[in-house]
């Protein structure tokens, strides 16, 4: 009993707690790596592979960092995938005239603009964020199709600097550092947590809740703009498809975000997100290495997120959960 008590006490010590969190995550990553490595040593787990897994995971980590800002306020957004499509198409179109500058500005500005629209409508119309972003998703998908004129938008090979190291890692790193700084060293971080904790009280303390909610959406979609840059660079092209197919892209960033939320007490959420997405990437690629059909991937995704959430993001007993 004594040992357990001491452990519990240690957990509350801030420094130890942060080591504990990171350690746990790294342990999980190692665990999954080992499992798949043992099961399929030829196809999985070499250093090259790992580098590949990591580089594919950072797209989602970037999105997840953005997602984090609104999730901690209790909000949600279904239009992330649609943003990726729309912003990347805008970026590619602009890149045809302005090269890298076009790509970057196109994706980022489009992203931020979408964020602003989402936040503004949410605040003004007072519709639950989940619902209003479903409608907006439909609209953005259509706009993406319109901008692309139905054509597949291919990124010029000369502009694919962000498709591989060091370009992609650098870009992602900038996002991670930015997210971490904002959370820890600006009012935005504190106020987002405050709003998520008790909105009424936050408002009473003079916090302009609406302003920070809009800001949260802008930040989210700005980071998703970065995600768009990476996505179109990796994929070399983007096709706008309607019919809510963009919903598929919402999923993996969401999972990473939940890692951040769950491990918030223990370490910097950004780190939790990065390692978390890596774990997910390991699992995915592990199954691929095992020869599992791609359809099973979705099954895994769904099951994995369910399990992650069930173990980490539960509401306390007695709370009303809808």
């Amino acid at each position: 009993m004594n040992l357990i008590h001491r452990f519990q006490e240690l957990k509350t010590d801030k420094r130890f707690a942060s080591y504990y969190g990171v350690f746990l995550l790294l342990f999980l990553a190692f665990l999954f790596w080992s499992i798949f490595r043992i099961l399929s040593p030829e196809n999985f787990g070499s250093l090259n592979n790992m580098s590949y897994y990591f580089q594919s995971s950072i797209i989602y980590s970037v999105g997840a960092c953005g997602f984090y800002f609104i999730v901690i306020m209790g909000l949600f957004d279904f239009s992330i995938g649609a943003n990726v499509v729309l912003s990347s198409i805008v970026g590619v179109v602009l890149s045809k005239h302005f090269g890298y500058a076009g790509l970057l500005i196109g994706c980022l500005v489009c992203g931020a603009l979408i964020g602003f629209i989402n936040g503004f409508l949410y605040v003004r119309l007072k519709i639950p964020s989940m619902i209003v972003t479903v409608g907006l998703m439909l609209i953005y998908e259509s706009l993406a199709y319109f901008v692309a004129q139905g054509q597949k938008q291919t990124l010029d090979p000369a502009l694919r600097g962000f498709a591989k190291a060091p370009g992609n890692i650098l870009l992602a790193l900038i996002v991670f550092v930015l997210a971490g700084l904002i959370l820890k060293y600006t009012k935005i971080g504190t106020y987002c947590y405050a709003i998520g904790s008790n909105e009424r009280m936050a408002e009473n303390m003079g916090i302009n809740v609406n302003r920070y909610k809009i800001l949260g959406f802008v930040l989210l979609h700005f980071f998703v703009g970065v995600m768009a840059i990476l996505a179109v660079s990796y994929g070399t092209s983007m096709t706008a498809v309607t019919g809510m197919s963009s919903m598929a892209r919402n999923f993996t960033p969401l999972m990473g975000c939940f890692f951040g939320v769950a491990f918030r007490k223990y370490c910097s959420p950004v780190i939790a997100i990065i390692i978390g997405e890596m774990i997910i990437s390991i699992i995915f690629n592990g199954f691929v290495a095992l020869g599992a059909p791609t359809t099973i991937q979705n099954v895994i995704t769904g099951a994995a997120l369910l399990i992650i959430v069930a173990s980490t993001a539960r509401a306390p007993r007695g709370a009303v959960v809808k």
């Binding site: 904790s197 009473n204 003079g206």
Partner: protein, 498 residues
């Protein structure tokens, strides 16, 4: 010599049809500790809330140091030198101690948008040490600390910038003796620095001991302001309550024996962290009152007996041996419960009066699984009329009713269920005198019909007036038990509560 620092002129506020504060005019001096007392619903909380920017005024104004006060929220109040320590939780979970202390005032530490967290933490740590709260760490999450420690953090938050006016709103009830001593220390310090404290408390002896002057509110109006050195508790009580409450208000009988028949037996009931080893019996036709400070655990006990607490230990048993472990079981066995949180627990506010009255009785009303709306309507109307609910029609939504009428709807539903054991938690809270009298009459009526009532209340007069027996709780345990007696006084009860 006394210099006026704050003047309230004809301040008023109404909520819906309730006039909470009615043209109150008061002056406060520098270097004064002013007690503000009154019964529940007297308007004292609303009054100070307006001062602190929590609610806007309907009418009137506050004049601080000669200038009219124009504030929209707490932070602006702070900037004007006014701060408040609230009754409930005033710190935000998920933030650190330092973040909580400086919430809304981070601009001191912000340069070009970057918040100097290290500097903020250092300053917070310095303040905590200055206050002598060495066990509280500036960088820890506020969630790690107990309610009392979080209150102490609020003390720092509310006083570190030397406010001109500090309002303490019923904070002491939640604090241990040690916590209170800390608070009194700071009140004295503020007074000595020439600033003002407005101290709200139900504990009259505490108020007399630590305040220079005392203002009494009743029904939203100012009754009088007196010097604490010149009054006794009884004087204050008279001012608070006004006219002698007519003997017809509460029960008039004394000396009626309680039946020996036990209808409910509660044995060793505990809720970890809240109540411990509560045991008692409820007799047929008895009104058993529970009293104590608001956090003594009696409210949780009420829920526990009704089966609403999932981690309850111990046993709650009916005369026939049935164990009450969940709400459906309790209701099925003719138990009823009205909560202190009327709008969220006793009622489904967004539903019609009709559905609210019928809901617990729905199984009984169903004919082979079907519920006919005519039958439901008749049922609901019958009991709504029995309680004289003032409504437009039975399909009106409950949230549109006044507090008193809402409570009548709550009681109507249990009358409809014909419950035998009724647990009433704060049944007359926030209700006007006329409806209160109706409810007391109903309780007496039920008692005579052989129904048994557990009444949990923070209003001592009510307990004295209505109960056959009174059990006082303190810190989660039973502290004392009293039998109904015309000689029983408030002091007797209060002594065992604190």
């Amino acid at each position: 010599m006394a210099e006026i620092i704050l003047e309230a002129q004809n301040v008023s506020k109404a909520f819906g049809i309730t006039q909470a504060v009615n043209k109150v005019s008061l002056t406060f001096n520098k270097g004064e500790i002013r007690g503000l007392i009154g019964e529940n619903g007297s308007g004292k909380s609303t009054f100070v809330s307006m001062l602190c920017g929590i609610y806007p005024l309907d009418e009137g104004k506050f004049i601080l140091e000669g200038k009219e006060l124009n504030i929209k929220n707490q932070v602006e109040a702070n900037l004007n030198g006014i701060s408040i320590i609230v009754q409930e939780m005033g710190t935000l979970s998920g933030l650190t101690v330092a973040e909580n202390i400086f919430l809304g005032h981070e601009s001191k530490f912000v340069q070009y948008g970057i918040k100097n967290t290290a500097a903020m933490n250092r300053e917070a740590e310095r303040l905590l040490n200055e206050y002598g709260f060495y066990h509280i760490n500036a960088t820890s999450m506020v969630d790690h600390y107990t309610f009392e420690d979080r209150k102490l953090i609020e003390v720092v938050k509310a006083t570190y910038f030397n406010p001109k006016i500090l309002v303490i709103d019923e904070t002491t009830t939640a604090l241990s003796q040690h916590g209170r001593e800390e608070l009194y220390k700071h009140m004295k310090r503020i007074k000595e620095e020439g600033n003002t404290v407005i101290f709200i408390s139900h504990d009259l002896s505490e108020v007399i001991e630590h305040c220079d002057t005392i203002s009494v509110l009743r029904d939203g109006e100012l009754i009088d302001t007196v010097k604490s050195s010149e009054v006794t508790e009884d004087d204050l009580k008279l001012l608070m309550v006004g006219r002698e409450l007519g003997s017809k208000y509460y029960r008039t009988d004394y000396g009626e024996p309680i039946s020996h028949e036990v209808v409910l037996s509660v044995e060793n009931v505990s809720i970890p962290g809240q109540i411990e080893n509560i045991s008692f019996n409820l007799h047929k036709g008895e009104i058993l009152g529970f009293g104590g400070l608001s956090d003594c655990g009696m409210h949780e006990l009420g829920k526990a007996i009704f089966g609403a607490v999932y981690n309850r230990e111990g046993q709650v048993m009916l005369a026939d041996g049935t164990n009450i472990d969940s709400i459906p079981v309790a209701i099925k066995n003719n138990m009823a419960y009205t909560s202190k949180d009327r709008d969220n627990e006793s009622l489904v506010s967004n539903e019609t009066i009709r559905n609210n009255i019928c809901l617990p009785s729905v199984s009984d009303l169903a004919e082979r699984g079907m519920l006919w709306s005519k039958k439901l309507k008749q049922f609901a109307e019958k009991f709504a009329n029995m309680m004289s609910v003032r409504m437009a029609n039975i399909d009106q939504f409950v949230f549109e009713l006044s507090g008193g009428n809402k409570q009548k709807v709550v009681l109507a539903r249990w009358l409809g269920k014909d419950s035998d054991i009724i647990i009433l938690d704060s049944p007359t809270r926030g209700i006007d005198v006329k409806v209160k009298a109706d409810i007391y009459a109903l309780m007496d009526d039920l008692r005579r019909k052989g129904k048994s009532i557990i009444m949990i209340s923070e209003e001592i007069q009510e307990l004295l007036g209505m109960s056959d027996r009174i059990i006082i709780m303190k810190d989660g345990k039973i502290s004392a038990e009293f039998m109904r007696d015309p000689e029983l006084s408030e002091e007797d009860l209060i002594k065992t509560m604190i």
